[in-house]
Assembly symmetry: C2
Homo-oligomer: 355 residues x 2
DNA sequence: TTGTAAGCGTTATCAG
DNA sequence: CTGATAACGCTTACAA
């Protein structure tokens, strides 16, 4: 029979050690304010009693939890399995650990982000892919928690950290254009769930960059050359396959994420398409996997881990009462690997698809 | 100038609504005990005031936090970037979300797991790869938190969920043996940091399984055919390369994780080794990436996501006062893909390594 | 159905 | 250097 014995409290320790509660508290949190003797004695008694300061009570009294959170509008299952998010979380976690903070995740609870936010005992929130105008942003601030936005448009409402999406996309497309490609398929990212189809800020920016590169040589990307896909390998696989089956015959693919790019790469095998001989592919993000594909993926590198660290810095830095929220923008760069090459001069005759 | 205005408390709402604190509390937590009228009124007042019940105060009074944690002895950065752990976390997260729990991560704080555990305000902990005899396990229980062990030996000290490592490993090795392989290189996993070289329970079990399969045909695996490697692609790459450079010429590789198997696979390209023509490789875990390699990886599938869900179930289930802690063991199975084949009859003459 | 009052376990203020 | 005592903000018997 397991007797659930009452946890020892600070009072128990105080009594057992023959001191006041205050002394015990000091022994743990401000040992310098006590005699070395007393401290040792108190700690001894505490450990033999198996006592630890109750973290919740402590948080209440201190008015801080020592925890910060990553908030995402998607369910956590999706987040952890997405290499981009994993990389980002890794950066956040490293910086949080270094600063002595615990890390928690917030995602919709029973479908409601609001409910999840309400119940969160954290000092600050790093929101990924949340629009500054989203009602939760205002609520979080009203609740007195700090917030930093990631992969969102810069705004007065909250600090944010992002990358130069337009420039990155432009570099990707310009690389293709320079290789002679004019006929491209864009694998965009799905608009966020509750947005009614409005593309995420990130997707919009990247589209701008792609278009600018084509404009510069008098070429264009028509709307039916742009298809949305879930940011997964499978999503990219199916999106590319769908476009190909519909009769599209691009000479290159511009994917807004490495995951979809890798998916497209796998799809090419099914169709007997050679990369980069028949088709060039360029991704975005430069996740670890990108250098392990066959051929290795040409992509836009962004410092994902550092993005996470930067977000923590912004969240934890003393309030910049200088006025405006900061909006650091990290650099990106084109990484040319094996999945891109010059466009074929003469059309290859593709096997007819039977549908 | 940002005036940090005091958060509204339950008392404010009570006063503004002209009711008692109790009524406000009920309006949020037990609306049935109040008149519909009153509830609506209170909620109205609360929302216009921007009030939410303070989660920490609430936790203190309720004596539960509504949060559970995944604990790992490794730094979080490593965890998130490891596909196996990511998959596991995904399972845990999904189950936790469904049960209305928030998810937090605990990892050594300033090098000390103990410190991190002390500060954790969670109701329960899922510890991955922690030995039942590890002092933290006892401490966690003494603190009154529940705990479930994952990838650890079964013991009286705590419930656990695991897989049949020995059987899985045996299946992997038997597959190779059946293909005629006798000369194998085992890529084991590094012993945990503070263990003084004692292999993790999981590694020991798997080694047993490998050996049994070889024993069955009168073959053996000598100690120098076993090398440790960090559980990463790079780790596998380097471990295989090191062994090859040392002059080992196995016809097959038994890797204790897909990550190291994939690393070995990449290394083969550098050496001009053909898989599976010259060398067979079999992994362990069956992470998503395993089906996307070239050739696709033969491996042991384990239900990683379900392992996470099962851990949550064990953690949250009403105390089974029937006596002993449960130790569910999930099934594994061999998945034959493209990285394994029959052993070559005649030795290929490997190019001499220049070192 | 609603209100009163006693915890929950710390920390922090302010005398001694 | 040490010790009462008042917060911290909510929940929950117990009463009314």
């Amino acid at each position: 029979m397991t007797t659930t014995l009452r946890r020892h409290t600070i009072a128990d320790v105080a009594k057992a050690a023959g001191v006041s509660k205050t002394a015990v508290s000091f022994a743990f949190n401000a040992p310098d304010r006590l005699g070395t003797e007393t401290v040792n004695h108190i700690i001894d008694v505490a450990t033999t009693l198996g006592y630890r300061p109750h973290p919740v009570a402590s948080s209440l009294a201190r008015r801080k939890t020592g925890t910060l959170a990553i908030l995402t509008p998607q369910p956590l299952g999706e987040i952890f399995e997405n290499p981009y998010h994993a990389l980002f979380a890794s950066g956040v976690a490293t910086a949080a650990e270094a600063a002595g903070y615990a890390l928690q995740f917030i995602s919709p609870l029973k479908g409601s982000l609001a409910r999840a936010v309400e119940r969160a005992s954290v000092d600050g929130i790093i929101a990924v892919g949340l629009d500054p105008a989203h009602p939760e942003v205002a609520r979080i601030r009203r609740y007195g928690m700090r917030i930093v936005l990631v992969d969102a448009a810069a705004s007065e409402l909250a600090p944010s950290v992002s990358i130069d999406d337009e420039a990155g996309a432009h570099a990707a497309a310009a690389h293709l254009v320079a290789l002679g490609h004019r006929d491209v398929l864009v694998l965009s990212v799905e608009p966020p769930a509750g947005s009614g189809g409005t593309p995420a800020a990130v997707a919009a920016e990247r589209m701008l960059g792609y278009r600018r590169a084509f404009d510069e040589v008098g070429a264009t990307i028509s709307d039916d050359q742009v298809v949305d896909a879930p940011t997964t390998i499978q999503g990219g696989h199916e999106a590319f396959g769908g476009a190909w089956d519909d009769g599209q015959r691009p000479t290159a693919v511009l994917a807004m994420s490495d995951a979809t790019a890798i998916g497209a790469l796998h799809a090419t095998r099914e169709y007997g398409i050679e990369v980069p001989g028949d088709l060039s592919i360029v991704g975005f993000d430069d996740i670890d996997q990108a250098s392990y594909t066959n051929p290795p993926l040409t992509t836009i590198h962004q410092p994902v881990r550092r993005k996470g660290e930067e977000a923590v810095r912004l969240l934890l830095q003393p309030t910049t009462d200088t006025g405006r929220p900061e909006h650091p923008r990290l650099d990106v760069r084109l990484v040319i690997r094996g999945s891109t090459g010059p466009v074929r001069r003469h059309d290859r005759r593709w096997p007819t698809v039977d549908r």
